[in-house]
C-alpha cells in the first residue's frame, strides 16, 4: 500500500474542500472497497478524508412522502429498517443479496454506489486496463469476458457496475444528493449517476472531484410486489452474473432494472411498458443493440429467464 496522510473531517463542506484542493485525495467511509484496491495499488490516494463523523447516518421522511437515506447509513441498517422492508422491499432484497454480513456492517449507502468494477483485468495490475490506466488498452476485449458487460459498453471498456443496491435504486427512481467544496448542492437522478464508459472509462460517475454524496432520496412508495432475483455462480457472497430488480403491480404493469450487464443499472422505461406482454418482449426491447461477447452471450437469455421467474412469482402472488 502506498503511503498516505489521514484526517477525520468534522464538516461536510470542509471535507469536500480537503479533497477538491488536494490532487490524489479521496474520501473514505467504510473503506471495504477502497482499502481492497489500495492494497493492490489500483487505488493510490495520497490523502484520505474520513467522513464517518459527518452525521449522515439517519433515514428520515421527506415532505413528498418518501425517505431520505443518509449517505453513511450502513447496508445492514438500511436493509433492516422497517420502513424500507415494508415500502421499498426491493431495496432490502437487493442489499441482502450482496456481499457478506461483515461487509454490509461497514459498507455505507454512498460507498455502495461508488464501488468500482470487479472486472478481473481492472484488478490485475500486470494487464492493460483503460479504467485503471487510461490509454493502456482493454485486456478484457478478446480476453476472459464471461462476467463482463453486454450492453452500454464501449471499445475502451466492457466492465460492469458490480453492485446490487443501485439496481433497486434505479427501479425506485432514487435521487443522489451531493455537496461540493463551494457549498453548492445538487440532486442527481440515479438514472444519470453512473456513466456509460465511452472513451473515458476511468470516470465511473458524474461526480466532480471533491463532490461529496450526502444522501439518497426515495420517492413515495410504489406499492406492488417487490423482487430482486440474482443469478450468480454460488448461492451466497458472489457478484451477479445477471440480476433483476422489479416492482410488479397487480394488473401486470411495473418496472424492471437489470444488474451485472452494463456500466450502470440497466433500465429502459420503454421496455417497462411491455411487461404485460411477457419477459421475452421486455428484454428484447431492454437489450436492443446489445454487444455481447461469445463468452457472455448467455447473459441475454439468462436475463429473460430471471425476469420470467420474477413475473411468475408476481402472478402467483396476485392469484393468492
Amino acid at each position: 500500500m502506498r503511503a498516505f496522510t489521514y484526517e477525520r473531517a468534522k464538516d461536510p463542506i470542509a471535507a469536500a474542500r480537503a479533497v477538491a484542493e488536494r490532487p490524489g485525495a479521496k474520501f473514505i467511509a467504510g473503506g471495504t472497497n477502497l482499502l481492497d484496491l489500495m492494497k493492490i495499488e489500483v487505488e493510490t490516494p495520497t490523502h484520505l478524508v474520513d467522513v464517518q463523523d459527518l452525521g449522515f447516518d439517519r433515514i428520515e421522511p421527506t415532505p413528498e412522502g418518501g425517505l431520505r437515506i443518509g449517505a453513511l447509513v450502513t447496508n445492514t441498517d438500511l436493509a433492516a429498517d422497517a420502513r424500507i422492508r415494508r415500502d421499498y422491499a426491493v431495496l432490502s432484497r437487493a442489499i441482502l443479496a450482496g456481499a457478506s454480513g461483515q461487509l454490509r456492517t461497514k459498507a455505507p449507502t454512498a460507498g455502495n454506489l461508488l464501488q468500482r468494477t470487479r472486472c478481473p483485468y481492472f484488478y490485475d495490475t500486470n494487464m492493460p486496463c483503460n479504467k485503471r490506466q487510461p490509454g493502456s488498452g482493454c485486456a478484457a476485449i478478446g480476453g476472459y469476458s464471461r462476467p463482463l458487460g453486454v450492453i452500454g459498453v464501449s471499445k475502451a471498456c466492457i466492465a460492469t457496475f458490480p453492485g446490487d443496491m443501485a439496481v433497486a435504486l434505479r427501479v425506485l427512481d432514487a435521487v443522489v444528493e451531493t455537496v461540493d467544496a463551494a457549498g453548492h448542492r445538487r440532486a442527481i437522478p440515479i438514472a444519470g449517476f453512473h456513466r456509460l464508459w465511452g472513451d473515458t472509462p476511468q470516470q465511473d460517475t458524474v461526480l466532480c472531484p471533491g463532490e461529496l454524496v450526502t444522501a439518497v432520496t426515495l420517492p413515495r412508495p410504489l406499492g406492488g410486489s417487490h423482487f430482486y432475483e440474482k443469478v450468480r455462480d454460488r448461492a451466497s457472497f458472489a457478484f451477479a452474473l445477471v440480476s433483476v430488480a422489479a416492482v410488479i403491480q397487480p394488473d401486470g404493469t411495473g418496472r424492471a432494472a437489470f444488474g451485472g450487464v452494463a456500466p450502470r443499472p440497466w433500465r429502459v422505461e420503454a421496455a417497462d411498458l411491455l411487461l404485460p406482454q411477457g419477459a421475452a418482449t421486455v428484454t428484447a426491447r431492454a437489450f436492443q443493440g446489445a454487444t455481447p461477447t461469445r463468452d457472455n452471450a448467455f447473459k441475454l437469455p439468462l436475463a429473460t429467464r430471471a425476469l420470467a421467474a420474477v413475473m411468475a412469482q408476481a402472478a402467483s402472488r396476485t392469484k393468492a
Partner: protein, 217 residues
C-alpha cells in the same frame, strides 16, 4: 536415550519460520505477513480504542489495518489473516458489537471504538458457548478460520435477535429464526477451506437450541 536438547516448538514459531522461508524463496503467497508497504511513510498517528475491555493507545502508520494492529502491535494473534481482502472472513472481529473484516478497516478509523476479538470471548477454563459447541461438534479441521467463524457466529445470533433480515428470509417483515438455512446464509462471509461447514452448522444449531434450529424459515 537421546541426549539431544529438548526442543520447545510452538505452532506460532513454526508459522513464523515458514513466513521467513517464504520471503527468502521469493514466494509472497506463502505465510502471514503484514500489509506490504513501500515508499516514504506518513508520520505515525495516535489512536486509542479498547480491545477486549482493555484501553489501548497506539501510534501507527495510517496504513496499518485494524487486523495488523491487533496481530503485529498488540500481539493478539487469535485473529487470523487469510486473504487480506475481505473475501474469507478469517479476520472477523466485533467493533462496537458488530462484526467486521478487520483486514478492510484502518486502525486509525477506530478511535474510541470497543473491539472484541476471539481472545475476549472466552478463556480455556471458561469457553464461550459457541467455542464449546465448536469443540463438541468438530467445527474445524486446521482451525485457521475458526476464530473468525466464532466471532462471526456471535454477531449472527445477535443480528437474528435484533431482527436483521437475510437473503433467504421468505417474509421480510417476519422476525428471523435461526434455522439451518438462515445460519448458512448468514455465515457465508466465512470461508472454511477444510470444508467443516456441516459441523459448524451443527455446532450453531446446538447453541440456538434444537427447537429454533428445526423451525421452518
Amino acid at each position: 536415550m537421546s541426549d539431544l536438547p529438548k526442543l520447545e516448538i510452538s505452532r506460532r514459531g513454526v508459522l513464523a519460520g515458514t513466513a521467513v522461508t517464504a520471503v527468502l524463496t521469493g514466494n509472497p503467497a506463502l505465510g502471514a505477513h503484514p500489509t506490504p508497504t513501500q515508499g516514504e511513510a506518513a508520520p505515525p498517528m495516535p489512536v486509542r480504542f479498547t480491545v477486549n475491555g482493555q484501553d489501548q493507545r497506539l501510534s501507527l502508520d495510517p496504513r496499518t489495518t485494524l487486523l495488523d494492529a491487533l496481530r503485529e502491535h498488540l500481539h493478539l494473534t487469535g485473529t487470523k489473516k487469510g486473504c487480506d481482502h475481505g473475501q474469507c472472513g478469517a479476520c472477523t472481529v466485533l467493533a462496537n458489537g458488530r462484526r467486521i473484516n478487520a483486514c478492510l478497516s484502518l486502525a486509525v478509523m477506530h478511535e474510541g471504538d470497543e473491539i472484541t476479538t476471539i481472545e475476549g470471548l472466552g478463556t480455556p477454563e471458561k469457553l464461550h458457548p459457541i467455542q464449546a459447541a465448536f469443540v463438541k461438534y468438530d467445527g474445524y479441521q486446521c482451525g485457521y478460520c475458526t476464530p473468525g467463524q466464532i466471532c462471526s457466529a456471535v454477531a449472527v445470533l445477535d443480528e437474528i435477535a435484533r431482527g436483521v433480515p437475510s437473503h433467504v428470509q421468505a417474509d421480510l417483515m417476519a422476525a428471523p429464526r435461526p434455522t439451518n438455512l438462515e445460519l448458512r446464509e448468514r455465515m457465508s462471509g466465512n470461508i472454511c477451506r477444510c470444508g467443516a461447514y456441516s459441523n459448524i452448522a451443527e455446532a450453531l444449531a446446538e447453541v440456538v437450541g434444537p427447537a429454533a434450529a428445526g423451525a421452518k424459515a
